[in-house]
């Protein structure tokens, strides 16, 4: 099994545990070093503890050049990282699509929208 596939399986596990509330995420202030000195924007960050590790989840918006239209445009990527002493010591460099699914689930859980809808 290659590294990408292992990461996909791991993120699927995180999604399942997030839905079942086995792991709880909290919204944290975005560490300034994630966007300072770069042209990217990180507006929302989440953090949780899993397997004795601190995980961070965020969406990074950045500009990319379009060859077709000869212009810069905004795009985004979703990142999962490991925090140690409040520093991101690892973040995924592979293109893993289900991080976005995890991000959406975490947003729903942290915002409390699920509870509001369940109480209707």
């Amino acid at each position: 099994m290659n590294k990408e596939r292992k990461l996909i399986n791991f993120i699927t596990e995180l999604i399942k545990k997030t839905i079942s509330k086995e792991i709880v995420w909290e919204k944290i202030e975005t560490p300034s070093y994630l966007s300072n000195g770069t042209e990217s924007i990180v507006s929302l960050c989440f953090r949780t503890k899993y397997n004795k590790k601190d995980f961070i989840l965020f969406e990074r918006k950045y500009q990319q050049y379009s060859f077709d239209f000869d212009t810069l445009y905004w795009t985004n990527e979703f990142k999962l990282g490991i925090l140690e002493d409040d520093i991101v010591i690892w973040e995924n460099t592979e293109n893993i699509s289900n991080i976005k699914d995890l991000y959406n689930q975490v947003q729903e859980k942290v915002s409390g929208i699920d509870d509001i809808l369940d109480n209707l």
Binding site: N95, S97, N104, Q105
Partner: protein, 154 residues
């Protein structure tokens, strides 16, 4: 006088022969240039069509995996919906023309189709496995599209 006339005649014949040879060479070079240009245009067209087609497939797959991610983890409540999404995904994957050759992508596509076709009893484990396969396919396709953008401009 006859000698002079013969000499002039020879010169004219030679000029005629040289002109014919130059004409033939120019025609051949023009034909070769046209073939090269047509081949380049054909390659650009193929690459353009492939890029558009891959973007279309990615858009369709993204919609389905996003829908799947909302239901696959609450399996018991959504069995029928999952089955329906799987059936839609199978149709999308089967519509991908095998001419669009990217070996790794093609192999994964065939693997997912074979898993979807062979489902008799849908289980949570099986559904999650196929969801992971689809995420792998989507990630691979996204990466291909990114790479193609650079290949075209190198």
């Amino acid at each position: 006088l006859e000698t002079i006339l013969n000499f002039e005649s020879n010169i004219l014949n030679n000029i005629g022969s040289i002109s014919s040879i130059i004409g033939i060479v120019i025609s051949l070079v023009t034909i070769i240039i046209n073939i090269v240009i047509l081949s380049k245009v054909n390659n650009i067209k193929k690459s353009f069509v492939r890029k558009i087609r891959y973007n279309e497939i990615l858009k369709d797959i993204k919609t389905k995996t996003s829908k799947l991610s909302k239901i696959v983890f609450s399996f018991e409540d959504n069995k029928e919906n999952i089955r329906e999404v799987f059936s839609e995904i199978k149709a999308i994957l089967k519509s991908i023309n095998s001419k669009e050759k990217d070996k790794d992508l093609d192999e994964l596509k065939e693997l997912i189709i074979s898993k979807l076709v062979s489902i008799t009893t849908l289980t949570q484990f099986k559904s999650e496995e196929i969801y992971n396969d689809l995420i792998e396919f989507q990630s691979m396709l996204e990466q291909k599209i990114k790479d193609m953008k650079w290949e075209d401009n190198e």
